[in-house]
């Protein structure tokens, strides 16, 4: 048997209560007293506290040794304590611990560590709940701040896109003048040396025009000013120009060019944005030719029908390929494999970003598989519809 002094008892159970046989509080722990406005000693236990568990237990029942109790202060109902009853010759002892109310609408009690027994883990739970509230507030504040920054960034992006679109348009007009005049001049008689210089002007002008067109497209997409315009088209119309131009370019580079299509697809009339589909395909084929020095460029087109019909395009080359790290960010604007690629092959790094966005606008998708040094396969799928009339409607043209 261990005998504890009142100080020792208070150290282990800071919220203890000693009650006489007649029901008067004889002593109480410092924690209970700290939360009370007046001295508890000498007051009737049942006037100060109600016994929640065991429900409606009388004093004799409590004193007879019902072990587990839950009591609540009558005036400060937020003060709830649980513990055990020990019978004494002259009454009984309630060895109690605070039971903090963790609900959000609970009246706050200013607990101190000293309110809890050193062997009571509920203080940790209480503190954890308090800290969790604070952390959630922190997270909420951070989310709000990030959202604010996101809105500001989006707004700046729209402003930037509008500015780029405006500038690109303004630059393109005089550039067309320069290119037009270069073309006219090139048809005139002049010394070869001057003609060579003029060709440099024309080539540089065309490169600048491509760049401006890309910027304009990207800006239009970013600012939501690009529309998808659906028309009737056949695959023959879609790929005719690409086949002619890039077959020739491949021949010039000594590459094999193949275009593989299905007979059934070639005979169909589709509904979709042929202009944008051609833009994506042209970009991918152009890249394939550009980045391949030997081997082949193979384009395949087929219809896939998993539910709704869609056209699947793949462009496979035996070119320089793409490293794993670059592949992950390849479709982001201004990304090329590395800066030496830009120097060697030219280009803006906007093409694939535009392709990805155009695909997304047409509810399609684009991906790439590649091995550095062995080539790449770009694949994109665009949902289309079948035109039931087996003819192309006349008079449809692209606006803007």
């Amino acid at each position: 048997m261990i005998h504890l002094s009142s100080d020792e008892l208070a150290g282990v159970f800071p919220a203890y209560l000693e009650v006489s046989k007649t029901g008067l509080i004889k002593a109480c722990g410092p924690s209970l007293q700290r939360h009370m406005e007046a001295d508890l000693c000498g007051k009737a236990f049942t006037e100060e506290f109600c016994v929640v568990r065991p429900a409606a237990a009388s004093l004799p029942e409590l004193a007879s040794g019902r072990a587990a109790v839950l009591v609540r202060h009558r005036k400060k109902s937020e003060l709830t304590l649980r513990g055990v009853v020990l019978s004494l010759e002259q009454g009984f002892l309630l060895l109690l611990s605070h039971t903090p109310d963790l609900s959000d609408d609970a009246k706050p009690i200013k607990y101190r560590y000293s309110d809890f027994s050193p062997c009571d883990g509920s203080q940790d739970i209480f503190l954890a709940a308090q800290v969790r509230k604070g952390l959630l507030e922190d997270a909420h504040a951070l989310a709000q701040q990030l959202n604010k920054e996101k809105i500001a960034a989006e707004s700046a992006n729209v402003a930037k896109a509008s500015f780029l679109a405006c500038m690109s348009h303004e630059i393109r007009t005089p550039l067309n003048g320069i290119l037009g005049m270069s073309e006219v001049l090139l048809k005139m008689e002049m010394p070869e040396a001057q003609k060579d210089l003029l060709k440099v002007i024309e080539e540089s002008g065309n490169a600048l025009l491509c760049l401006l067109n890309d910027i304009l497209d990207l800006a239009k997409i970013d600012s939501g000013h690009m529309d998808i315009v659906e028309t009737d088209f056949t695959l023959d119309e879609l790929i005719g120009g690409i086949d002619t131009v890039y077959r020739l370019k491949c021949e010039e580079k000594g590459l094999r060019f193949e275009l593989r299509t299905e007979t059934a697809s070639m005979q169909r009339v589709y509904i979709g944005d042929a202009y944008r589909i051609r833009q994506i395909l042209t970009n991918l084929v152009s890249n394939a030719v550009k980045f391949t020095d030997c081997g082949s460029v193979i384009v395949t087109i087929c219809e896939i029908a998993e539910g709704a019909p869609a056209l699947e395009f793949t462009v496979t080359d035996t070119g320089i390929g793409i490293g794993e790290e670059t592949g992950a960010k390849l479709f982001a604007p201004f990304v090329q494999a590395d800066s030496s690629i830009t120097r060697r092959y030219g280009g803006t790094g906007l093409g694939l970003s535009i392709c990805k966005r155009l695909c997304a606008m047409m509810n399609g998708q684009i991906d790439v598989s590649s091995e550095e040094g062995f080539g790449s396969t770009f694949r994109f799928v665009i949902p289309v519809r079948h035109q039931k009339r087996n003819e192309i409607s006349a008079g449809q043209s692209r606006a803007g």
């Binding site: 503190l127 954890a128 800290v131 509230k133 997270a139 990030l146």
Partner: protein, 183 residues
Amino acid sequence: MYGMIHKAAREFTIDKIGDDAWAKLAAECEVGSEHFISGQHYCDDMTFRLIGKIAAVLNLTTEQLLLAFGRYWIKFASEGAYAPALDMAGDDLETFLSNLDRMHASIKSTMPDAVLPSFSVSKAADGQINVTYRSPRKGLEPFVTGLLQGLLARFNETGTISNAPAGDAVVFHIKRASASRVA
């Protein structure tokens, strides 16, 4: 260390040199983000890199920075997510210091990866307070001095703090000059 330390370092630095300078400093330290999450554990290397950089930018020695940051920490922690942990420790300096170990034991339940120091309080020969500090982290004595200065301020007290090594511990002697306590 947990993100609350980094958040405090961020606020401390912004107070001194502003948002833009902080953003530049954070980028140079490669901390990954200008924002930290209180309940997230970050590697010590990054924390010390950050502290070193802040000291350099503020033209302070590491010791001077730790001292100032210790003082700031008490103010910062009193207002953030962990304010309840501090409030529970007590309403006067001695009680608060006596409960530091209990506070750290409880905080450990919400920050399981935290490496928290241990403090024990005793009465010094001159009747003042001795705080014995033990930590697996070395070299943070100026930070503890700052913390104790911050606590004196929290309880509207003034005083001087000195320290001396004692075996594997460091004993901080708090000589209180006045005690206009807040109840």
